[in-house]
Amino acid sequence: MTFDALDAVLLIPLASAAILAVLPGYRLTANFNVVAALLTFLTSVSLFWVAPPSGTYLLVDDLNKVFIVLTTFVAFTTSVFSASYIGHEIEIGRLTPVSVRFYHAMYQVLMFAMNLALIANNIGLMWVAIEVATLTTVLMVGIYRTHEALEAAWKYFILGSVGIALALFGTILVYMAARPVIGEGVESMVWTVLVTKAAKFDAPLLNVAFVFLLLGYGTKVGLAPLHAWLPDAHAEGPTPISAVLSGLLLNVALYALLRFKMLLALNPASIAPGPLMVTMGLVSCLFAAFMLYRRRDIKRMFAYSSIEHMGIIVFAFGMGGPLANFAGLLHMTMHSLTKSAIFFAVGHIAQVKGTQKIADLGGLTVTHPVLGWGLVLGVVAIAGLPPLGIFMSEFLVVSSTFAREPWLATLLALAILIALGGLFLRLGSIAFGEARGSTESVHASYVPMFAHFAIVFVAGIYIPPALVSGFENVARLLG
């Protein structure tokens, strides 16, 4: 077979994982990690110009193009951030060189798994990829070996495996539904084929399948009531992993969900997936919004805000229609950029203050202006205040929904408001007020954080037409 960009996107991380597993010295490994991530990103960008033909196992279309580029980009910036973060962790001896080596290898494996999940043209393959991604993240969450970390990892592990099992059952059912139409063998697990024939599938089977997939992949998306693993995993793992989890892994799971939603949307006889998704989205959004108030741990708080935003996104896709889908895609992109940037800031904050308990943080804008204002900017963005990107998507979601389902829109608006209240309640004591904790200067790489903010800011007032048309195509695909 010919070696093209798609394979590259998979092979670069795999190869570098292998190399990183043996390379000594964290500086070297960290830099190598960055380089590898950059390479992956560049190759993925190249997909926009030369789209390789999609085979039985890999495919590339408008939908996953968006996802893959976003993923590789955030992966790259995160690797830059992680370089400085891990450096500090080694200094204070929270991580041993061995575990760092393991960490970097795992990082690349995770990249590989996520990329595979995104470009897999085969539902079975996709499932495997997501499972691998889960296992790697489990290991990385537990990397600190503290009581809390292990517990979080364990919780994540158990809930994740159940989710995966459900998802697998769903996948099998989809195959069962496809087989009579397409025939036995690998053909009836291939997206490109499934999509063409979906209309003739057996509807009840497809419904059951979707229920299982919704719950299975929904667990990874972090929809309430399946979210339980998410806050702890975010809070106890290394911050770069929190960033990747919130910024990428959730998206990947969401991507899988969207694929199957497309399948159902193509089948007239099946139940409309919309109502299910809208309900779960709304529930997650409201629930997370309320949960924000009582948080004592800054990373856990932002984890809950991720749940809230995933809720909004799922809600948007559930509503469907070109406007809502566009909004959903936009929101997803903006959220992963913003949230990962926030975690960059939070990571440095937690390192310099030596704690992530909100009660012990205070007056950051005074002690560390750049970090502090960075955090403020991030919260402003994530709370959906203009002129940053998320405002536009929330504007579209709410206003387009209000014309169709006034009550749902009102509820959603309420949830957004409550969430904003919770976020700013905490922000007030973290970023402002009297200064607490150490005031020593932090040697951090602000580039990734502000790069993200810059993108989000620009997107809030100007979206390049190329991107718009791309999103519109995808929105149409999602029906």
């Binding site: 809930l159 059951v208 806050p231 309320f290 406007l323 205040l385 014309a403 957004i416």
Partner: protein, 669 residues
């Protein structure tokens, strides 16, 4: 026009990064405020040109920003032009004032970057020509002002104020968002032109009106959505407080007018009852709150609420007339509202500047620690007095003119077709009259306690007159107050095109009337001539003085105060802010604020001083906001349990969800 205006806004926006770059360095203050002074002045000129320039459809500029398939629309019609004047006049004055005031700022780097951004935001709201850019600028304005409110965040109170403010602001924005969502419909056509073209059904229109009232009202400080205002406005630096109270509330009024009068067409008449009632209630409650405060800046903030109430009452009146097809009367009420908007922006800005000067000179906002400042800072006292007279709606200053016009509009109510309005309008008139009288009392108290009498604290004794820039700004505003008071005709005529947009008609031209008096309807009916009143009062006063000094005596001796023979040297024996308000508190507060006086007398033998404590409750806070926060607390506590379950329980949740969904499938038709 629009292009130039946008360039001005761009300049303001560009100023923010400059301020960040300059940081806390000494030239930063002068650069930022100086530049924003110039730019706002330029913008003001542009706006005036647009206002007096050619009437007719305003050309729109569409930038490839905002919603991709829509673009960002900007244009200046008469309505926006008028509000641009208000904004930039206030902005220029505030900037000039800040050239002096800003020097005393401890953390300039916390104020400077946001100040120009705030001005830019307010300008953009008025310029915006589609829902999206409107809301973006609206929320941007709130955000930047929030940053200014918490600029002194070492004080917990300010932080809380900022928090409440941001919440209410976002609440309002969401309400407006829903209103626009209704107007735009499912098609998502967010340009104002399209909304104007679409005529929503009566019920829909009513809903939009309510949403607009909630959204814009929460920003303007309409009762019961005012709770944030008295917290946030005083917390900001004084020139910003002036802008927030004097200008930003007006931007909110603009939002209301734009949606309800321009985009919505004419809703049914009974919705004007709502606006009327809320306006009247806001006016009275606002001023009563103001009378109960002892923090000077908070008094001013509450009086803003009162004036907003007057504006909204007038707008409700205009709405009623418009719905009844009485274009002419509608124009009268509408003009009254706009004129009051303009006037209030002048004197409220002036008063906050004065309060700021006092704050700088004494470091005190508490009136109980002020007093006798008229000796230390005579000029500030003079301009503050003018502001106080104007805001108390006393002739010959400008506050009176707009109230007079409002009353004239109220007197047209018998011609209204519906009995509900026939009876409602005079009642609202009574509320307005009451609020006007109380405003007088409020500002006798504010000025008398803090500037007159004998100093109540060391700080007040040591006060110094404020600097030239601040004084210039204040004199400028004071002069405008006087001009607007004695030559109202000019301003009324200038408002004609605006009224044309708002209600499709305008008041008769005033500049033609002899002796420059104003005649809203007919001379036989009512007329007022500020100029002559002013001249007469001045003349007869001077005449009397001259005659007496000439013919009788002009000798004068200084001696101790008489005070019925028992003068007491201690300044504590003066009437304080609290004691001044006591009679009114007894009359109104007992019912409204559940004000209770608890006097505790020491037993005969003890030497303890007797003390009197007054405790009051804010009815609205107690009945509206406390329950909400209680509910949030309750809900969060209940839900928070879900953070502490065991893995098995979480699994149970998954299991239950699965079973439920399967059941749904099982019973699915």
């Amino acid at each position: 026009m629009v292009v130039y205006a946008l360039f001005g806004v761009l300049a303001l926006v560009a100023l923010a990064p400059v301020a960040i770059a300059l940081g806390a360095s000494s030239p930063a203050t002068n650069t930022v405020y100086g530049a924003s002074f110039i730019v706002t002045l330029a913008l003001c000129v542009i706006a005036l040109l647009a206002l007096f320039g050619h009437p007719g459809p305003a050309p729109a500029v569409v930038l490839p920003l905002g919603l991709p398939w829509l673009g960002a629309h900007f244009r200046i019609d008469a309505l926006s032009a008028f509000f641009l004047v208000v904004i930039n006049l206030g902005g220029a004055a505030a900037s000039l004032y800040a050239l002096g005031y800003g020097r005393h700022e401890n953390f300039p780097q916390r104020v400077l970057p946001f100040y120009p951004a705030y001005l830019a935001g307010m300008n953009l709201v008025v310029l915006a020509g589609d829902a999206f850019s409107f809301l973006v600028s609206w929320e941007f304005m709130s955000l930047s002002s929030w940053a200014l409110v918490i600029s002194h965040h070492e004080d917990r109170e300010n932080l809380r104020a900022g928090y409440v403010y941001l919440l209410m602001a976002s609440f309002g924005t969401l309400a407006l968002l829903l209103a626009f969502g209704l107007l735009a419909g499912a098609g998502g056509n967010y340009t104002f032109e399209a909304m104007r073209a679409a005529h929503p059904s009566a019920g829909l229109a009513a809903l939009v009106l309510v949403l607009a009232l909630v959204g814009a009202g929460s920003k303007a400080g309409v009762v019961p959505l005012h709770a944030w205002l008295p917290l946030a406005h005083p917390a900001a630096p004084s020139h910003v407080s002036g802008l927030m109270s004097g200008v930003m509330t007006k931007v909110a009024v603009y939002g209301f007018i734009r949606i309800v009068f321009d985009l919505l067409g004419t809703p049914d008449w009974w919705w004007s009852l709502l606006v009327l009632f809320i306006g009247g209630a806001t006016a009275v409650l606002g001023v009563l709150y103001a009378l109960m405060q002892r923090d000077l800046k908070r008094v001013l903030a509450y009086s803003t609420i009162e004036n907003i109430g007057i504006v909204f009452a007038a707008l409700g009146l205009a709405l009623a007339f418009k719905a009844s097809g009485m274009t002419f009367a509608a124009a009268l009420a509408f003009t009254a509202a706009l004129l009051h908007v303009f006037n209030h922006s002048l004197f409220k800005n002036l008063l906050f500047c004065g309060a700021g000067a006092v704050l700088v000179a004494t470091g005190e906002r508490d009136m109980e620690k002020l007093g006798g400042l008229i000796h230390r800072m005579p000029q500030t006292a003079f301009v503050f007095l003018i502001g106080a007279t104007a805001i108390s709606a006393l002739p010959p200053l400008n506050g009176f003119v707009s109230e007079w016009l409002t009353f004239q509009a109220i007197l047209l109510s018998p011609q209204l077709p519906s009995w509900g309005l026939k009876l409602m309008v005079p009642a609202v008139g009574a509320l307005l009259a009451l609020s006007a009288a109380l405003a007088g009392a409020c500002f006798v108290r504010a000025f008398g306690i803090s500037f007159l009498g004998r100093p109540r604290s060391q700080a007040a004794i040591a006060a110094q007159e404020t600097d030239v820039n601040s004084l210039t700004a204040m004199y400028f505003l004071a002069a405008l107050c006087l001009v607007a008071g004695i030559l109202p005709g000019l301003f009324i005529d200038a408002l004609a095109p605006v009224a044309q947009i708002g209600v499709g008609g305008h008041m008769p031209v005033q500049t033609g009337v002899e002796w420059l008096s104003i005649v809203p309807i007919a001379e036989s009916r009512s007329s007022y001539n500020g100029l002559l009143v002013f001249v007469f009062v001045a003349m007869s006063g001077v005449l009397a003085a001259f005659a007496i000094h000439r013919l009788a005596s002009d000798r004068l001796r200084r001696s101790a105060a008489w005070d019925c023979g028992y003068p007491d040297p201690s300044p504590l024996t003066q009437y304080s802010a609290g004691s001044f308000a006591q009679p009114i508190r007894r009359v109104f507060g007992t019912l409204l604020f559940r004000a209770r006086e608890i006097g505790e007398m020491p037993p005969p033998s003890s030497t303890r001083p007797a003390r009197l404590t007054v405790n009051m409750h804010d009815p609205i806070w107690d009945t509206l906001y406390v329950p909400i926060s209680r509910f949030i607390d309750y809900a969060t506590d209940r839900m928070n349990v879900l953070q502490f379950l065991t893995i098995r329980r979480y699994l149970t949740l998954v299991f239950v969800a699965l079973v439920l969904l399967l059941l749904v499938l099982a019973i699915w038709p």
